[in-house]
């Protein structure tokens, strides 16, 4: 299923690639890579995630040249970036909103995997690597949010690091070790800056493994069936490079809208108040992309079990390839699973809404119901539906489905 390997005409390139076949590798990855011919627009979000990671790294490296990771100067240095650094406001708004875009495209990418069964054999390791990337992203995003050292930065750092105090016996010591002090302070800010700079490069490393693991079995596709022959696949370039660039241009409009016209809409006004350890904000809320997990944390009345539930909500996804008992990948041929998939999407949105609101009144009950449903979905519904459901007949091949039935979307 190869579309002709890399055969350069230039003698220098030939000589170089003979000694270090990095150009062959690149060619195999983004040019000749045999790709199913029927990928829809939901498949754009993987490359978009890679692009937003790059945006974050480039803007972040430049911001770090002007930022001061010291607790009495951090807030001022961010204002210095906003006011005095040439296009500093642009870099900072790109970085702050870029984080939201990165999470948005990654969440869509994950839900696409859930819908089309991309986590199933032979792609379990690929799925795991994706989850590792998500965990690293969440850690980097949290530490990045602390750096401006505003009120929300400080109190988010306090709340999140305090979660570790739930660990029996050694909890308090672990928290002091994380802080590097007896409270969140300069030592904490310094190490968060160091780690916030480090983690994205670890993400790059895992992304490379993720792409490597993708290219062994090849991409899944909306039909969820394996490619049977060359007629089912097309080279990545020009077909998917063109499609990805079109998708990139569309999402850039959304990104630009936030940067230029609503740059603070996803942030919290309290983070424009300098950190004050003596004044607790009335509502401490994380960034939107953590809200569903925050809701799960608060749904459980016990601190330790709340923390366990929150971490389990992601860790459990590592077992998903085995929890799902259905052999059919794509939800298109799984009439019952398809409906539960959309219920899970609604459940995630409800959890996010609950996470954004103070835990009082009906929000407590809704939060608990939605949390219960989240775990129910993966631990009970997915395994049982896989057994009970009678899947629709699968098409003969990708090519026959695409070329025979134009209604395919």
């Amino acid at each position: 299923m190869s579309f002709g390997s890399f055969q350069p005409k230039n003698r220098f390139i030939k000589w170089f690639d003979g000694q270090l076949p990095i150009l062959s590798l690149m060619h195999g990855t983004v040019v000749s890579y045999p790709t199913p011919r029927n990928l829809n627009y939901w498949w754009n979000f993987g490359s978009l995630a890679g692009i937003f990671l790059t945006v974050q790294i480039i803007t972040g490296v430049i911001l770090a040249m002007h930022y001061t990771p010291e607790s009495t100067m951090a807030f001022d240095s961010v204002e210095h970036i906003m006011r005095d650094v040439n296009y500093g406001w642009l870099l900072r708004y790109m970085h702050a909103n870029g984080a939201s875009m990165f999470f948005l495209v990654v969440y869509i990418h994950i839900f696409r995997g859930l819908y089309f069964g991309s986590y199933k054999a032979p792609r379990e390791v690929l799925w795991w690597l994706g989850l590792v990337i998500l965990l690293l992203m969440m850690a980097s995003g949290f530490m990045g949010y602390v750096l401006p050292w505003g009120q929300m930065s400080f109190w988010a750092a306090k709340v999140i690091t305090n979660l570790f105090s739930a660990i029996p016996i050694v909890g308090e010591s672990v928290v002091r070790w994380l802080w590097g002090d007896f409270s969140v302070g300069n030592a904490t800010l310094n190490r968060f800056f160091s780690l916030h700079y480090l983690l994205p490069f670890l993400i790059v490393g895992v992304v490379i493994l993720h792409i490597w693991a993708l290219h062994i079995p090849g991409s899944n596709n909306p039909l969820g069936i394996d490619a049977k022959g060359p007629q089912d696949k097309i080279p990545f370039h020009p077909y998917y490079t063109a499609k990805d660039l079109f998708g990139l241009s569309v999402i850039s409009v959304v990104f630009a809208f936030f940067i230029f016209y609503a740059p603070n809409s996803l942030g919290h006004p309290d983070n424009y108040i300098p950190a004050n350890p003596l004044a607790t904000p009335p509502h401490i809320v994380p960034e939107w992309y953590y809200l569903p997990f925050y809701a799960i944390l608060r749904a459980i009345p016990d601190k330790l079990f709340g923390v366990i539930a929150m971490f389990s909500s992601i860790l459990l996804l590592f077992a998903l390839p085995w929890l799902d008992t259905s052999k059919v990948r794509s939800a298109r041929f799984r009439p019952i699973y398809k409906q539960f998939f959309w219920l899970l999407v609604i459940d995630a949105v409800v959890l996010g809404y609950v996470g954004a609101n103070p835990p009082e009144g009906a929000f407590i009950l809704i939060g608990r119901l939605a949390t219960t449903y989240y775990f129910l979905h993966f631990l009970v519904i997915v395994p049982i539906v896989g057994w009970l459901e009678k899947p629709k007949p699968l098409p003969e091949s990708i090519a026959s489905a695409v070329l025979g039935d134009k209604a395919e979307g």
Binding site: F257, Y261, P269, L343, G361, F363
Partner: protein, 256 residues
């Protein structure tokens, strides 16, 4: 169709609970939306309002409130000339030093100086204000829920406390502030300033102008941002069209 039942039942259950959930009534009044020259995708700051607002800040707010991220040279954005800014800066005494003898001294301000703070430090500010710290105003518009509308509502929202309301000692009634009581006494009164451009100095006018000024102080790059945004959007929309055409053309080859 039996498989649909559990999903629908759950949906209905969630919806029922959601309907029964009425958000807790906030204790504070909700600020009304005002018109601001700088809102909207092409909004720019009204230069007249900026200059009048700066005058209100200087003659009223600056008695207690700092504006620490603003330098005199930044006031060029308000439409003042370099000479006007140099003259304005020179009216202030700025602490400097140490000199070659190791002594601190004061000198007239220059355009690169920050606007001096009304108090030497936070403790001095608290001591002069009954224990309350007047916040720095440089970012106040971005640091409050409701932004400009909230600041305007707060400045114009002072009134007599209702009979059944017990006001804390040294506090003033203002329905827009947390718990409806605020340490800051009413700052603006009719004709508190005499505007250089002859605009009538009603409380609403002064509140509107000083809020516009503070919105600028919170984000002096707002106009540059919207100007660049417009160009970027045009560029991107054309790019979307081109990429759409490229994509279609590339895939057409495959279908033939």
């Amino acid at each position: 169709m039996t498989h649909k039942n559990p999903c629908i039942a759950l949906l209905i259950a969630v919806a029922l609970v959601a309907v029964g959930m009425v958000p807790a009534l906030a204790e504070e009044a909700h600020p009304e939306k005002q018109d601001w020259s700088h809102q909207g995708p092409t909004g720019t700051f009204d230069r007249g309002a900026l200059q009048r607002g700066f005058q209100v800040y200087r003659e009223v707010c600056s008695a207690c409130h700092d504006l620490k991220y603003i330098t005199f040279r930044n006031l060029g954005d308000l439409g003042y000339s370099k000479a006007e800014i140099a003259a304005l800066a020179a009216e202030y005494e700025v602490a400097d030093g140490p000199n070659d003898d190791g002594d601190m001294f004061t000198r007239p301000g220059i355009p690169s100086d920050h606007i001096p703070s009304p108090f030497a430090n936070d403790n001095a500010a608290r001591a002069s204000n009954g224990g309350a710290l007047p916040p720095d105003l440089s970012l106040i518009v971005k640091a409050r829920e409701g932004g400009e509308d909230y600041i305007y509502a707060l400045l114009t929202g002072y009134r007599d406390a209702p009979d059944d309301f017990t006001l804390g000692e040294g506090l003033n009634y203002n329905p827009y502030f947390t718990n409806s009581q605020i340490a800051m006494p009413q700052p603006l009164f009719e004709e508190a300033v005499e505007f250089a451009d002859g605009t009538g100095a009603s409380v609403e006018q002064m509140a509107h102008d000083v809020t516009t000024f503070l919105a600028w102080a919170a984000e002096p790059t707002l106009e540059a941002r919207k100007r660049l945004g417009f160009k970027v959007m045009i560029y991107l929309l054309i790019l979307v069209g081109l990429m759409y055409a490229v994509n279609r053309r590339v895939w057409k080859k495959l279908k033939q």
